[in-house]
Amino acid sequence: MFTRKPTSPGTAGPRARTEGGTGTARSIATTTTAAPRRPGWSVRCARAAARSAFIRGLVGLLAICLTDQSVSWSGLVEPRYLPSATTIVARLGALLTASRFLSDIEYTLASAGLAMLVATPIAVICGLLLGLFPTALRATRVVIDVLRPLPAVAIIPLLTLTVGLGQTSVVLAVAVAAFWPILLNTVHGVQDVDGVALQTAGLFGAKWPRRVCTVVLPSAAPAIGAGVRIAVSLALVVTVAAELIIGTTRGIGAFILDSSRGGFHADLVYASVAVAGLLGLAVNSAATAVERRAFPWHGREGTS
């Protein structure tokens, strides 16, 4: 997969990109602008395809709204529990200009970001060590396999009792959740490093630290990036979840909890849940875009 030269990380990108160009609109557009043959046409085509995909996506989102609207018109569910889509969208607009809610969003993003800052370096370092030393991996395999399926949600009761009800508990729970995908992706990335490249670096007299920096890290970088992307989207969801469960005073989760407590303001609940979902969507697409820009030679993997 990686046809990169270990010593020149900058030069191999475009070449490998043209070799392994997968069918995404952006990669078609970028590769063909470099080619001499009718660039304007293909770029226009890619843009038109992207536009129609966008419109169809909007149709899908509208379908959800329409379903909700018709349910509320037909009166199947009490509007106190399921308000109409127009009410929710109106409430959404009002929320996004309210300074309290904006500071809640900011708080949630800060918690998630802090958790990522804690989890990423630890996970990458652990992943490097486990990937480089197969014995260490075999020795810790059982521990990892037992700890990984344990949901981050399940350790929240312990955290609330030992650490407290504040932001620290949220950040710790999120960091635990974000740790695993980065760790496992790093291990896989390091294991997939081309053995010949490593031996070549060894023949040139590179010592271990240097081999790790110039060979292992660059060629494992796309896998690590994919792990971080998965972890970022996960972190946001877990942050809101943890805020809800722990019952913090600030954050989107706290807002949802507040509006569902005092007499259940259904429109507020749905609007803030929708904001959380849209935020997740935005973070995921941003992370995907950054990943594609940073590692263009790496084919896009499944949506997981």
Binding site: G57, R138, V153
Partner: protein
């Protein structure tokens, strides 16, 4: 990789011990490497909590004791499980598996059908991404309103969580079936259903399995979450009641049992997956 090279290297000149002895030695060494760290960690934990008397961190033996007393001290006629096990653990696991299977089924069916049509794919993708990104605890009140505090609500919630990764993975895989396979199937005049069943399904099976594995992890989370609200039994219920009653050992016991359950379910799934998909060269452990 390491194992195969170790097997290939033969040390000449050494008199090799008997076959069985060698096998036992290898198994013993493998087990020591595999479980050594776990045992060391447990011993360290035991030693650290031995006489510290920390309220929040009971020793492993206390936790194990509690698990055995609470859940595995029943009569032999009931396979040693207690009534509490039948009331808490078994229904929880049943709901989890039911919700997971239901969600996976819907995800695979919709994903395979939608994967064949580009417009359907583009319409379904954004709402699916959006619904997947919803924080799950926030969805719980909605399901509570729609279904009431019933078994159906919990199963539906778990299914709702599992649908999206399976659906998105299946859809992507069904859309990227090797065009040569697709053309061959058409050239052979296979009916649409046979094309789906014999070409699309098998070639997207690995992606479906990957989605189902993500779904399994989600199902465990949602199982715990769904039992935190208006429940009277279940593994998640016993976890949260123990926390509310400051019953530390009980809380740890529920957490450990949850971890063991997750480990077992995951291991069984991986075994079945590698057995069923052994024909596919991308199966794990390449």
């Amino acid at each position: 990789m390491m194992v195969t090279t170790a097997r290939l290297i033969r040390r000449p000149g050494l008199r090799r011990p008997g076959r069985q002895v060698r096998l036992l030695a290898r198994l013993g060494k493998g087990a020591m490497v595999r479980f050594g760290v776990l045992i060391l960690l447990l011993l360290a934990w035991q030693w650290a909590t031995r006489d510290a008397g920390n309220l929040f961190f009971p020793s492993p033996t206390e936790i194990l004791d509690r698990i055995l007393v609470d859940w595995f001290s029943g009569p032999p006629t009931h396979l040693f499980v207690t009534p509490a096990f039948m009331a808490d653990v078994a229904p929880s696991m049943g709901r989890m598996l039911a919700g997971w299977l239901l969600g996976s089924l819907i995800g695979v069916v919709v994903g395979v059908l939608a994967g064949a049509v580009r417009t359907a794919r583009q319409i379904i993708d954004p709402p699916a991404q959006f619904l997947r990104a919803l924080p799950t605890p926030a969805v719980v009140p909605v399901f509570l309103l729609l279904f009431g505090a019933s078994t159906g609500m919990r199963v539906a919630l778990i299914a709702f969580g599992c649908v999206w990764p399976v659906l998105l993975n299946t859809m992507t895989a069904a859309a990227s079936v090797d065009p040569r396979l697709r053309l061959t199937a058409r050239a052979l005049h296979l009916s649409r259903w046979r094309q789906l069943a014999q070409v699309v399904m098998p070639s997207s099976a690995p992606a479906i399995a990957a989605g189902m594995r993500i779904g399994l992890a989600l199902a465990l989370i949602l199982m715990v979450l769904s039992e935190w609200v208006v429940a009277t039994s279940g593994l998640g219920f016993s976890l949260i009641t123990a926390q509310q009653h400051f019953d530390m050992t009980g809380m740890w016991a529920a957490m450990v049992l949850l971890a063991i359950a997750g480990y077992l379910v995951n291991t069984v799934f991986l075994t079945v997956e590698s057995r069923l998909l052994s024909w596919h060269k991308g199966v794990r452990g390449k």
